[in-house]
Each structure stands twice: as structure tokens, then as C-alpha cells.
Amino acid sequence: MSELSVNHLLGIKYLKKEDINLIFETADHFKEVINRPIKKVPSLRDITIANLFFENSTRTRLSFELAEKRLSADVINFSAASSSVKKGETLIDTVNNILSMKVDMVVMRHPNPGAGVFLSKHVNASIVNAGDGAHEHPTQALLDSYSIREKLGEVQGKKVVIVGDILHSRVALSNIFALKLQGAEVKVCGPKTLIPKYIEKLGVTVETNLTKAIQWCDVANMLRVQNERMEISYFPSTREYTQQFGVNKRLLDSLDKEIVIMHPGPINRGVEITSDVADSKQAIILDQVQNGVAVRMAVIYLLASKIKQ
């Protein structure tokens, strides 16, 4: 397989396993590129990409922007805070106005689930979903799997536990889709109030005891509690959450194996993960960030190669 089966990256659930393999093989090449003295290739010099961020983001936006610039694409940035969206413009109007300036690809983060799918049906550009509400964050899941593959050799057969606020997490959902597609075993762990009903239907198991989950797994992906998405209280206190679902050095030292610790960031040190764990050699958090650029380069490159001249 040498091209993606899709024209947009809207979510992992639209991808095939072969798509993920192709993205990873391409990302391997780009990882080598971004470690050269000159970290840029001219492939996309005739492509213009708009980064539309209707929701706050730091690392994802920077990572996409860097990936686009490393590929020599022209980049325009847009954030909802300083736009006509505040003046009442619709999403389609906003995007069509931007596309009329001859933009080929749109990278969009939006607070509403399904915004990317909606847009892909109404505008003539390749869409990359950079996070849509609590739905999907496909590039994060891809870079997470890529990082597991890099650290452990392959994803297939590995035991991965996703710990924390599963209910509000698009990272969790995309990760579940990606990991299952590649043949990993997936468990979710967190307070019952933060685990969606019927999540077992996605082929994952639920564990509410962190120690048991950590003893079972090869990889623990620690999620942040998304207070900004919570309108009610889901657990009694942050302190109690940390006591039950925070990973610390003592817990890791009690294991008879060395597990891999991941975190999509931003980290709340001392809440879901202690500093000594976050900074330990078991944590691959900064590798995830570096891999994010390579994986996003691969996604953008492969989607751009399908845009007709």
C-alpha cells in the first residue's frame, strides 16, 4: 500500500490498519529528516495549509505548524478568539472564506464533536481533525501508537491501560480505536464516574483499581483530568483522585517489570503523575512530543499527495 484509503483524517475509526502502517513507515523517514542539521524538505512548497483552532491549544498547534513548515507548506493560522466567529459567522462561511484564498488543506480543532466530518462534506479541501470536542484526536493516537512501536518494537499484543478521565477524553477514544486496530489489549482505569457506560462495547475492559491495572499492563497512558469540560463534580477532591489514580514511583518500584509511562500533556504534576515518574527514564513523554512532529508530517504529506494538481 502506498497511499491512504481516505482523503481526510477525521478520526481513527475511518482508517484501516494498512493506513496506520503507511503513516508509521512514512513517519520513520520524517523522523530521520527532523534529526538532520537542516530539518526541512521541499515536498509541499505548492501547498497552503490553514490551521483553524476554534479551541485553545499550544502543543498540538505548534506541532502541526512545525510539521507543515518542515514540509515547506505555506501556513496560515487562525484562532477563534481573534476571528469573525465572535461576530456570528458560521463554520462553513468562515472556512469557505479561507478556502477562497486558495487553501488546499485545513487542520481544525473544534469544541463540537463531528465538526471535522461536517466540514468535510461541505468544503472542497482536505481536512485534518486536530481534536473535535470529546470525540477524536487522531494524530495524538497515532503518535502514541508510534511511540509504543518505537519503544517496544510493535503494538500488536501489547497491554495498554489508559488511566484517568476517559469520559471527556478524545485522546482516550482515538487511542482505543488505534490500539484495537493494531491488535493491542486495552484496559481503561479511572473513577467510575469518569468512565463512559457501555465502553466495553469498544472491546476494552474496565478496571477501577489502579494497582491491578498497572500490574497488568506493558504501557500506561496517563490522562489529565479535564476540569474545563466538567460542569459537575465527578470525584470528591483532587487529593482523593491522586491517592486512587495517581501514578507514583513507589507503585512503579513495587512491580517486577518496567512499564512504559505515557502522557499526552499537559501534565498536572502531582495529580495524575508525580514529578519523579514524569522525569524518569520509563516516561516517554518528550519522545511522544518529538514523534508528534514526524507523525503529523507523515499524515500531511500522505494527504497532500492525494490532492489533485
Partner: protein, 179 residues
């Protein structure tokens, strides 16, 4: 489809030794020279040349790398098939080095144009030369010529020159294929 043998294994062997000797004439001990095999097919030739230099002429310190040019090509989104990348393996910089590009067939010159851009990511060489087994005359799109050539071939655009190596095709041979 018909194919005609242009070079046999024995002829290729003689040519490779001649090319290696020409390189030694210009680069003596290779202390400031790096050989770069151009992916995908130039790497077999590069390996062979390096082997001759090391084994037959006792030049132990010959640096070599593989360069992939996919992301530097000028036909991205222009062809029927998507471009497939290969591995770049260069674990040194080429700053102030004498670089020798090695590729099996020089045809339009566009691959070498891409390689000239790609190599800049690894530094600024003092000079770049080109070694090629087959030079297809009269087919160039760009003003690029080899410094070392194995055999010059006159072929029309509809014909293909295919280089087989023992490593990937089970024999050393060069064929001219016409439809």
C-alpha cells in the same frame, strides 16, 4: 517486449574495477571523500564500489551513506502513482567534504538534481561528483553530466535500461528493454 543484454556480469566486473581505479586516481586515500549511494537503486552500485576499494585496494577508511531523494523530487502530485520513500542513512556531515554521488542509470538528470538539493541538509560539501554505471545519452532534461561513467548507451525514450544486481535480482546484468 524484447530485451537485449547490454552488459554481462564479467563486463560489469571489469567496469566496476575501472571506476574504482578512476576514483582512487582523484581521491587517493579518501580521507576527505564520502560516497553517497542514491536510493533506491544506486545503493547496490555504491556497495560494490566500496567493497572493491576496501578489499582490492586496502582503503579501509571509505565513508559511505545512502541518500533518499523522494521528498526532494519535482514530480510530487504529478504522477499516477504516489512516491514511495526509502531509508536515508548518513551518519556524518558532508561539510567541507568531497561527495561522490553513485547511481546506476543517469537518464533525465532529475534524480541527481533532487540529490543535489537533498545533500545540502547534511552540510555544504566542497565539491560533488557523479559516478554512474549507465549514462543514457541524449535523454537529459537538465545540464547534468557524470564525472565517472561505466558505459554510455543510446536508447530512445520508449526503451528502458534495467540494471540487475546479484543482491536483488540474482544476477549481474544490464538489459535494454523495448516494447
Amino acid at each position: 517486449m524484447s530485451q537485449k543484454l547490454l552488459l554481462s556480469a564479467k563486463e560489469i566486473d571489469i567496469i566496476l574495477h575501472r571506476l574504482a581505479c578512476q576514483l582512487i586516481e582523484n581521491h587517493t586515500h579518501f580521507e576527505n571523500t564520502v560516497l553517497i549511494g542514491v536510493q533506491p537503486r544506486g545503493i547496490f552500485l555504491a556497495d560494490r564500489i566500496k567493497n572493491i576499494l576496501v578489499k582490492d585496494y586496502n582503503l579501509s577508511d571509505v565513508k559511505m551513506g545512502y541518500l533518499d531523494i523522494t521528498f526532494y523530487r519535482d514530480d510530487f502530485r504529478r504522477g499516477e502513482k504516489p512516491l514511495e520513500a526509502n531509508k536515508t542513512h548518513i551518519d556524518f556531515t558532508v561539510e567541507d567534504k568531497r561527495v561522490v554521488f553513485i547511481d546506476d542509470v543517469l537518464y533525465t538528470g532529475r534524480s541527481i538534481r533532487s540529490a543535489l538539493t537533498a545533500i545540502q541538509s547534511f552540510g555544504r560539501p566542497t565539491e560533488i561528483e557523479l559516478l554512474t554505471l549507465i549514462d543514457r545519452r541524449f535523454s537529459r532534461h537538465l545540464p547534468i553530466q557524470p564525472n565517472y561513467r561505466g558505459r554510455q548507451v543510446d536508447a530512445i525514450n520508449q526503451e528502458k535500461v534495467k540494471v540487475h544486481w546479484l543482491e536483488n535480482s540474482g544476477e549481474d546484468a544490464v538489459y535494454l528493454i523495448s516494447n
